[in-house]
């Protein structure tokens, strides 16, 4: 973002494009200006607005862990015009980046706690840097339980990292799909049913969940049944966004702007919003 105009993005170059699922690609970007690159630090949960020049802008969570030498990674699901054209980009193509925007998961406050991660589909994208931050600082956190759900086995994102996650100390990875196929030996169950089956204790535990609205709704019900209090459940709100600066008012809910006051909220905070979705 240029200091003269916060609507002007930083220029970046596509370095890597990895196909994660039939409709999701992971874009690895490098900011062109070395000074900007050195200063672009962010936390898990924050997002950036990507430009496909000539097509438009859309917000995406940062799927990587902040590192001065690291690429900025974004998991992009093909769903509209901007995401389609971002997916078509080849390495060395120019893109725009504005950000980082928004608040982050309160991982610093969760030190010493067990972490229970529940992600569905592309909802795993903001949770990936949460998992990787915990694994890089493994001694700071208790047990890590991850439920990763998707529609079908081929829709599970970040499969290349499953072995690393599952073999990390005090870490349990549970995969589930809505519909299996012949070669699938894993679970076929909806995410809330898996929560009930695993029955994790809410004691000294924080639950972090991201996924489609319908999954979130039944996940919250299940977590509450297990005794999780609303201040122990953290999620992200999805609203249409344009500016990322709290100006355009597209993501306004009550006196909040999801782009600057969120996107991360506890269920306790959300339950106090005047407008409920």
């Amino acid at each position: 973002m240029s200091p003269e105009n916060p609507f002007v993005p930083y220029l970046a170059t596509v370095k890597n494009v990895v196909t994660l699922t039939p409709d999701i690609k992971l874009l690895g970007l490098e900011l062109d200006d070395p000074t900007v690159r050195d200063n672009f630090s962010y936390k898990a949960g924050q997002f950036a607005v990507l430009s496909a020049f000539g097509v438009g802008e859309a917000p995406f969570c940062l799927a990587s862990v902040s590192h001065p030498k690291g690429e900025l990674e974004f998991a992009v699901r093909r769903i509209g015009t901007v995401t389609s054209s971002l997916q078509e980009l080849e390495p060395e193509a120019a893109v725009g980046v504005r950000g980082p925007f928004g608040n982050c998961f309160p991982l610093d406050d969760n030190k010493g706690q067990n972490i229970f991660i529940i992600g569905g589909g592309i909802g795993m994208a903001p949770l990936r840097p949460v998992i990787n931050t915990i694994l890089r600082n493994r001694d700071d956190y208790g047990h890590l339980l991850i439920i990763n759900g998707a529609r079908t086995p081929q829709d599970l994102v970040f499969q290349a990292e499953f072995d690393i996650w599952a073999s990390s100390p005090r870490t349990q990875l549970e995969l589930t799909v809505d519909r299996g196929h012949d070669g699938w030996k894993g679970r076929v169950a909806l995410v809330p049913a898996v929560i009930a089956e695993l029955n994790p204790s809410p004691e000294n535990t924080v639950a972090i969940t991201c996924g489609p609205p319908i999954m979130i709704r039944f996940t919250l019900q299940e977590l509450r049944k297990l005794g999780f209090q609303d201040n122990q459940i953290i999620t992200t709100l999805e609203m249409k966004m344009k500016c990322g600066l709290g100006k355009c008012a597209r993501c306004n809910v009550g006196d909040m702007y999801v782009c600057k006051d969120g996107p991360v909220f506890t269920c306790e905070q959300i339950s106090k919003f005047i407008e409920q979705f």
Partner: protein, 332 residues
């Protein structure tokens, strides 16, 4: 003592300003009275109730380029838009100046919208007090008045053939030479007094009325034409889009309205505010509750344009009065 300027001196001053700066004033060269860049002084309308649109569009245009992206030999360069020209906005009514002050609260809060900031910094506001209130006016209920100098740099109030001059800011003082002014004993005329709508305590009753069926009933007749937002001096929601023609790309922002179904519709089709009732409610809640919670003032200047243009007679004054009555009761 009061300072005045004669109509003749006023016009000759405007003539001089026209040579030095962009002069934007009410004109009827395009039909309805609108703020337009003036090319000759005779086009300026001095006798009018209010302009069809507020002067907001000269600070926050209906469509405005944010930057251009140019690609040459595989290298992309971004050229940000800037505001170069000094401007005078002449003839703005106190309500519309208050509207700008309200948009300032949102756009100039950190991180500031620098393009809007440049438009504001480069322009001097010369206000004109209202001689009469139109049927739709309710400015005094929204914390301003027909002769309120608070949000302009200079305020002129017509008395017979002259104008009483109130220099409000340093910017205004620098614009108007002293030698054009006369000392006078003329007494300012009493300002018109538009009917009052009591918005006292509106935030508390809005908090109670959120789940009332009132909103969906009111919205039954809404045709989501968005006119209320487009004529509003305080509505500031916008969209951002790219346009490409002949290899040249521009990123443009344009007015958007919370009444349009696409306002909150996400890629993939999910729309958290899918019903007209929820959208109309958002309009009134943003103005009467959320903006006051965030910025300490109702997002309305009482100009009444939305009342005037609504094709189905949705009237914010009636909404305020209705909500005051409904309060926490769950019946309209």
């Amino acid at each position: 003592m009061t300072q005045t300027i004669s109509r003749r001196n006023l016009l000759s001053w405007l003539g001089r300003l026209l040579e030095e700066r962009l002069l934007i004033a009410p004109t009827h060269t395009t039909g309805p009275i609108l703020f337009q860049p003036v090319s000759k002084i005779e086009d300026i309308v001095l006798d009018f109730d209010n302009t069809a649109l507020s002067a907001k569009e000269w600070f926050f245009p209906a469509t405005e380029t944010l930057f251009w992206a140019e690609t040459t030999d595989g290298r992309t360069e971004l050229v940000p838009a800037t505001v170069e020209r000094e401007a005078v906005v002449f003839g703005i009514r106190p309500c519309d100046a208050k509207g700008l002050a309200l948009v300032d609260k949102a756009f100039l809060a950190e991180p500031a919208d620098t393009l809007y900031q440049q438009h504001r910094d480069k322009a001097v506001l010369v206000g004109l007090s209202c001689r009469k209130a139109s049927p739709q006016c309710f400015c005094t209920s929204m914390g301003t008045a027909p002769n309120d100098p608070t949000h302009v740099d200079i305020l002129l109030t017509e008395v017979e053939e002259d104008y009483i001059v109130q220099i409000v800011t340093e910017k205004g003082k620098a614009l108007l030479p002293d030698n054009l002014l006369l000392e006078s004993k003329v007494v300012p005329p009493p300002p018109p007094s538009p009917p009052v709508v009591s918005a006292e305590g509106i935030e508390e009753v809005m908090r109670q009325a959120f789940d009332s069926p009132y909103w969906s009933r009111l919205a039954d007749r809404c045709v989501h034409c968005n006119l209320c937002a487009y004529v509003c001096p305080t509505c500031y929601c916008f969209d951002i889009r790219d346009y490409e023609s002949k290899g040249k790309i521009e990123r443009v922002r344009s007015w958007e309205s919370c009444q349009s179904p696409g306002f909150t519709r996400q890629a993939g089709g999910y729309n958290p505010r899918a019903s007209k009732g929820a959208r109309l409610r958002q309009r009134f809640y943003h103005k009467l509750l959320y903006f006051p919670e965030d910025f300490g003032a109702i997002a309305c200047a009482g100009c009444g344009r939305c009342v005037q243009v609504c094709p189905v007679n949705i009237d914010i004054r009636e909404v305020i009065a209705d909500i005051q009555t409904i309060g926490g009761r769950n019946v309209p």
